[in-house]
């Protein structure tokens, strides 16, 4: 229960880290980068369009204001030319009377700045008295409240120091501009979000299809040669890629099967004549049986040597056939719940005398309850092969057999203190007939580890070769049986 509890407690950080890892993986993918680039270009163009719209609409309103002011000033200037200052004052006073609703501002001042007519009380504070176009803030009382309104104005200087100001309250235009700005901002945000979601979805879709191809290739590499990439039937590039890949896999599988069949057929076909050869040699040696008459003669020795050679060949064929049988899955399983510790102890008991004689120390570390479901005979054979190898190649020193539970897996391990296997060769030594240069001189057929791997795979486990510093550590990992 304690173990369960701690696992549950640690569930949250581990899921966070998984999300982080997934995110990092997503960012690294080509699909994501494509999507990000697409999104950036998309966002930039949307932004450009929005800015242009904003700029033209704001500009249009401003130009319209200016055109109105221009027309008004021109009209008033004409009035002044016809009717003089008093006429102008009259017209301005007339136009200022009452709220016309068009937010026009009029003001005529004498050379001292004293207002003579108009609809604002005084010359607006801080506004220069000489430039043609003016922008200023206007104090206005609306519904009893004092408000500052932005305004735009045009100045007409009347000879004699009199000044005419025609302006317009542009708070409506400003409000309109603000509204356009807000609208555009929202439109931009929505476009941004849509682009981001679209990019992610697109990249994930792409990623999922690439991932399918990846997963399939991994499974094929792990030995499941009949696995294929699923097709969608859309005949797009991905489907074409998958179809090509599948055709390639078909071809590889055909070749592999053909090769395996050839090996198996050779083994089968050669085994029969070889066994006859063996029988004849043996009968030549033991006639009459038990008398051992030919033991001393050189002929007898020659026959014995030939017999031993035939036995080695037969052993090779038998190993090949066993591996083929295990790998093809033709064999029916004789599995039962068993304890790897017992397998380890029993093998150690069998090998202890011979190890001691060869100058090794055989140590067993077996913890109780290393339970798996498996075939005891096959597992014993795998372990015996590993021990044979250690005795053959490690020279001397300690050989340790361990049966332990590690990281939720049941582990059977053989570690020696020999020269070990260089990292580059660790994968290949598991293949059939592979023998390392250093071991060419010792008897053997290069099938021992292949048989071990075939047996372990048959049990759904895995073989790991590690550096024992110094020496070789072969670890067989299995799914642990719940107790």
């Amino acid at each position: 229960m304690a173990v369960e509890g701690s696992r549950l407690a640690s569930g949250r950080p581990s899921s966070t880290s998984r999300i982080l890892r997934n995110t990092r993986r997503l960012v690294r993918t080509h699909a994501f980068r494509l999507a990000a680039l697409y999104f950036l270009v998309f966002a930039a163009s949307v932004l450009g369009v929005l800015l242009f719209v904003y700029w033209t609409s704001a500009n249009f309103v401003e130009r319209q204001t200016e055109a109105t002011l221009d027309a008004e000033i021109t009209g008033l200037a004409e009035q002044y030319a016809q009717r003089g200052l008093s006429g102008l004052i009259q017209i301005v006073a007339a136009r200022s009377a009452g709220d016309r609703g068009d937010a026009m501002i009029y003001l005529v001042t004498d050379p001292d700045g004293k207002p003579l007519a108009g609809n604002i009380a005084a010359w607006p504070a801080g506004v220069p008295t000489h430039s043609a176009w003016l922008s200023f803030a206007l104090e206005r009382t609306i519904n009893g409240r004092l408000e500052l309104h932005p305004a735009r104005g045009r100045l007409f200087i009347i000879p004699g120091g009199y000044r005419l100001l025609v302006g317009r309250d542009i708070s409506d235009a400003a409000a309109f501009r603000g509204q356009v700005r807000a609208t555009l901002l929202w439109a931009g945000l929505i476009a941004f979000a849509v682009g981001l979601i679209g990019g992610t979805v697109m990249s994930r879709n792409l990623l999922r299809r690439v991932e399918q191809v990846n997963r399939t290739s991994e499974r094929v590499m792990a030995g499941n040669l009949s696995d294929r990439v699923p097709l969608r039937g859309t005949s797009d590039e991905f489907d074409q890629l998958a179809a090509n890949l599948n055709r390639m896999l078909d071809q590889i599988e055909r070749l592999m099967t053909a090769m395996r069949e050839v090996t198996d057929d050779v083994a089968h076909d050669l085994r029969t004549p070889l066994s006859r050869l063996r029988t004849r040699l043996e009968r030549a040696l033991i006639e009459p049986y038990g008398a051992d008459a030919s033991a001393g003669s050189s002929q007898g020795e020659a026959i014995r040597a030939a017999l031993a050679e035939a036995d080695r060949l037969l052993a090779t064929f038998n190993s090949l056939l066993s591996i083929a049988e295990l790998e093809s899955g033709a064999r029916r399983d004789q599995t039962e719940p068993l304890d790897l510790s017992e397998v380890a102890r029993s093998a150690a008991e069998l090998y202890e005398p011979v190890a001691e004689e060869k100058g090794f120390v055989l140590a067993v570390a077996a913890e109780p309850g290393v339970k798996i479901r498996g075939d005891r005979h096959l597992l014993s054979q795998a372990l015996a092969n590993l021990l044979d190898n250690a005795l053959k190649y490690a020279g001397s020193g300690e050989i340790e057999i361990r049966a332990i539970n590690r990281n939720g897996r049941a582990v059977l391990e053989v570690a020696d203190r020999g020269a070990g296997i260089p990292e580059a060769d660790r994968e290949t030594v598991l293949d059939r007939f592979v023998r390392l240069e250093a071991s060419r001189t010792t008897p053997g057929n290069g099938l021992g580890l292949s048989l071990v791997r075939a047996i372990v795979r048959r049990h759904g486990g895995s073989v790991v070769l590690e550096d024992n510093r110094p020496g070789l550590r072969v670890r067989l990992e299995f799914t642990r049986l719940a107790t």
Binding site: R271, S346, P353, L391, K392
Partner: protein, 225 residues
């Protein structure tokens, strides 16, 4: 002693026949399952050597039919199929021993003789004796010439098996199967070292050795007759 060999491969059949005849057995030969079944039911044999793969009726069906007819003749099954479950299946079908092809003739002979002896010896004996070597199955103790010999449990089982087959050759494979329950041959000569340890204990301080090596075949525990 009469042996029936049921084997369809002419070459193997003729060698078996020849080899067994030379070892002092009377041999009949059948080349398919039906003929084998007919011979085995109509005449008395001491043992059967039976190939698994036979034309017209395979070895296991033939054996099944024999056992159904209450014929308990010990049967040694020969097979090209070597895996353990095939062996188990063969033994379940009524076989008494199982030998994978190709085999050494000495191996076949040793096993066949062990089968022939099986009915003869008193299986319920509590004490085995070979020469002056004595093994007590109840107290699990070993004595030679009255002197107690300390043996490990596995050495006891090894010695027991050798004594039950005293005077006959037992092969390394037979020892691996019966003493260790290992049904394959390790590349290392594990058995030889076990035997030499046992020999140290039971033979070393005595004049006449009991445990002999039979070259090219196996071992034999033999008393001085």
């Amino acid at each position: 002693m009469k042996i029936l060999v049921v084997e369809d491969d002419r070459e193997t059949a003729s060698y078996l026949t020849k080899g067994l005849s030379e070892s002092g057995y009377t041999v009949d030969c059948a080349s398919d399952g039906r003929e084998g079944l007919f011979l085995a039911t109509s005449s008395d044999y001491n043992a059967l050597v039976l190939d698994r793969m036979l034309p017209s009726m395979d070895g296991l069906s033939m054996l099944g039919a024999l056992r159904a007819a209450e014929i308990r003749t010990p049967a040694l099954i020969l097979s090209a199929l070597g895996s353990v479950d095939d062996r188990v299946k063969g033994l379940r079908a009524g076989g008494d021993d199982y030998l994978v092809k190709p085999f050494a003739f000495s191996e076949l002979l040793a096993r066949l003789e062990a089968l022939l002896r099986r009915g003869a010896g008193p299986a319920t004996a509590t004490r085995l004796r070979v020469g002056d070597l004595e093994l007590d199955l109840l107290t699990r103790s070993v004595r030679r010439a009255g002197k107690a010999i300390e043996v490990l449990p596995r050495e006891f089982r090894l010695l027991e098996y050798l004594m039950r087959n005293a005077g006959h050759v037992v092969t390394r494979t037979m020892l691996l199967e019966h003493v260790w329950d290992y049904h394959f041959d390790p590349q290392t000569n594990v058995i030889d070292v076990h035997i030499s340890r046992l020999r140290q204990k039971i033979d070393k301080s005595f004049d006449r050795p009991l445990l002999h090596t039979v070259r090219g075949a196996g071992y034999c525990l033999r008393g001085p007759e």
